[in-house]
Amino acid sequence: MLAEEYKRPEPLWPKKRLGEWFSIAKKGAGGWAFLLHRLTGILLVLYLFLHFYVLSTLSRGANAYDNLTVLMESPFLLLLELGLVAVIVYHGLNGIRLMLLTLNVGVKQQKEMFWVVMAITILTTIIAALFMF
C-alpha cells in the first residue's frame, strides 16, 4: 500500500454520558456533594408536584383533606416525610455551601463544609424523628 492510499480512521467520539452525573465512582467529597444535590433537587421537584396534589384536596372541601391527613399518619408515610426533612435540609445547606463557593469563600475548605452539611442534616433528621415518633 502506498501512503496516498492510506488514511487513518477518525477517532471514536464519546457519547454524552448522563451516567457521570449519578455515577458513584467519585474522586472526592465535592463529587458526592454534587451527586446528592442533584438527586435531592430532582426529588424535591417531584415532591413539589405531590404537595400540589395533596393541597388540591383543599379545594374539594374539608372532608377530602381530612381523609388524606388521616392516611398520612401511617408509619410508612411518616418515614417518607422524615426522608423529606433530610432531603430538604441537605439541599438547603449544601445550596448555601455552593453559594459561598461561588463567592470564593472557603473553597479550600469545601470538603470540610460538606462534612458539616452532612452532620447537620443527620442531626436535624434525628431531632425531627424524635418529634415525629
Binding site: 500500500m1 502506498l2 501512503a3 492510506y6 487513518r8 480512521p9
Partner: protein
C-alpha cells in the same frame, strides 16, 4: 507537486528542528515517530537549556555549540524558558582545584560568566549548601523538554509538514544502493504502507544505529542512559551545578513545581532495554544533597532513565562520560555507499536547531537546491498550535 520530499525518522527534538528547517527551505516533509512525539530521549532529559559551561573544560566544541544555540533559542522561542541563570558551585577542595581550569574554559568558549561571592550566592539561593567556597554564574536556564520541540513541530506543521505519530519505520525501501522511501507500520491500525522519499533522514537519536542497519550501514553510536530523579518542591530557582568534572548527581534543576536531580551514566547496546538502576536513585539523593542539603528528605515524584545518543564506537566508553556531546551528520553516500540517506546523531536538546541547520545544508546540496537557512531568525509558534485538527 514539484517539491522534493524528505522523510524524517524520529519525532524528537532533532526531528522537530529538522522538519522546521526543511519546510522553511521549501521541502515537503513527513515525520514518522513510533510513539508520541518526544517519547524517546527528548522528553526525558532534565530540561536544561545549556550554557555550555558543563563542557567548557573537557569538551569545548560542544560547549561552543551550546552557548551559540542558547542565545538563538532565547530569540526564536521567547517565553519558553525559565531564564533564571545557573550557578556552578565549588563545595570541596577538589572542586576548588577545578576552578581555574573552569574559568579558562569559559573564556575560551566565549561563555559569559560572572564570579559571585558565596555570600551573595546564598542570598540568591537560600537552600544552597552553606559550605560553598566559590561560585560562578552562567546563562543556564530551564526549558520544557516537550514544549520546545512542540513549537518546532507546530511551526513546521503550519508550513505543511506532516507528522505521523504511532508510525514506526519497519524497512528502508531501496533501489540498488539508493534509498527510495520507507515502509512504515501504523500501530493504530496495524497496517503497513510505503512512503516514497527523495531523501530519508535518520534522526532517531539513540536508535540511529538500529535504523541505519536497515540500510546495511553503520553509525558509531553509544546509547548511554542516565538515571534522573524528580523530587517534590522547588528547592532552588536557578540551575545549580557542581563545579567539577561532570559526574553523577552534579546538577539540580528547578522545573515547574519540582526539582530534578541528574544524572548518572552508563552505556548499553539496546536503548529499548533501559533497566532502571535502583542504586542510582540513592546516589542521586546522596549527591544532590551535597548541593542542596534539603533534598535529602524531599519526597520523590519519579525516577526514570533516558538514553543519550552519544557518538562513539563500541568499547570506546565504559560510562559514556568520556564521549563528546557534540553531534555529527553522516551522509551515507560517503559512509557506507548508500545514496539518499542521511543520519544525524549525537548532540543535545539545546543544540537541536544547529544540528538541523547542518543536516539541512547537506540535504540541500544533495537535492541541488540553494536556499539559505532561516531558522536563526524565525520566531516559533506557541506549542499549543501543534494540536490542531489535521487534514
Amino acid at each position: 507537486m514539484g517539491k522534493p520530499h524528505v522523510v524524517i525518522i524520529g519525532g524528537g527534538a532533532t526531528g522537530a528542528a529538522l522538519a522546521h528547517d526543511l519546510t522553511l527551505r521549501g521541502v515537503r516533509v513527513t515525520v514518522v515517530e513510533r510513539g508520541e512525539v518526544t517519547s524517546g530521549t527528548t522528553g526525558r532529559h532534565h530540561g536544561l537549556l545549556h550554557s555550555g559551561a558543563r563542557y567548557a573544560v573537557k569538551d569545548q566544541e560542544s560547549a561552543k555549540e551550546c552557548i551559540q544555540e542558547n542565545m538563538i533559542l532565547r530569540k526564536i522561542a521567547p517565553d519558553t524558558f525559565e531564564l533564571n541563570n545557573g550557578l556552578f558551585v565549588a563545595i570541596t577542595e577538589e572542586d576548588m582545584a577545578y576552578h581555574s581550569a573552569f574559568i579558562d574554559g569559559l573564556e575560551t568558549c566565549g561563555i559569559p560568566y560572572k564570579e559571585i561571592t558565596p555570600k551573595e550566592a546564598l542570598q540568591r539561593e537560600p537552600n544552597l549548601n552553606p559550605a560553598v567556597k566559590a561560585v560562578v554564574e552562567v546563562p543556564d536556564g530551564t526549558m520544557d523538554a516537550m514544549r520546545l520541540p512542540l513549537r518546532f513541530f507546530a511551526t513546521a506543521q503550519s508550513n505543511g509538514a506532516i507528522i505521523k505519530t504511532y508510525t514506526e519505520a519497519m524497512e528502508l525501501l531501496m533501489s540498488g544502493k539508493t534509498i527510495t522511501g520507507v515502509r512504515v507500520r501504523d500501530h493504530v491500525t496495524e497496517k503497513d504502507y510505503d512512503i516514497g522519499a527523495d531523501i530519508v533522514i535518520n534522526a532517531s537519536g539513540a536508535w540511529s544505529d538500529k535504523i541505519a542497519a536497515m540500510a546495511g550501514v553503520h553509525v558509531p553510536l553509544q546509547p548511554s542512559p542516565g538515571v534522573l530523579v524528580a523530587v517534590y518542591g522547588r528547592w532552588n530557582n536557578m540551575v545549580l551545578n557542581r563545579m567539577h568534572r561532570s559526574g553523577d548527581g552534579d546538577i539540580i534543576l528547578p522545573q515547574r513545581t519540582l526539582s530534578v536531580i541528574g544524572t548518572s551514566s552508563w552505556v548499553v547496546k539496546d536503548p529499548d532495554q533501559l533497566e532502571m538502576k535502583k542504586e542510582h536513585i540513592q546516589l542521586m539523593y546522596k549527591m544532590g544533597s551535597v548541593l542542596v542539603p534539603g533534598v535529602k528528605h524531599a519526597k520523590m515524584r519519579a525516577a526514570w532513565a533516558a538514553a543519550r545518543p552519544l557518538i562513539g564506537s563500541e568499547g570506546e566508553a565504559s560510562t559514556g562520560r568520556e564521549l563528546s556531546r557534540t553531534f555529527k551528520c553522516f551522509d551515507h553516500a560517503d559512509h557506507g555507499g548508500v545514496e539518499g540517506f542521511v543520519t544525524i546523531a549525537g548532540g543535545k536538546a539545546t543544540t537541536a536547531r544547529g544540528m538541523a541547520e547542518v543536516t539541512t545544508d547537506i540535504v540541500m546540496k544533495k537535492l541541488r537546491m540553494n536556499v539559505p537557512c532561516r531558522t536563526r531568525d524565525v520566531v516559533l509558534l506557541p506549542h499549543t498550535a501543534y494540536y490542531r485538527r489535521r487534514m
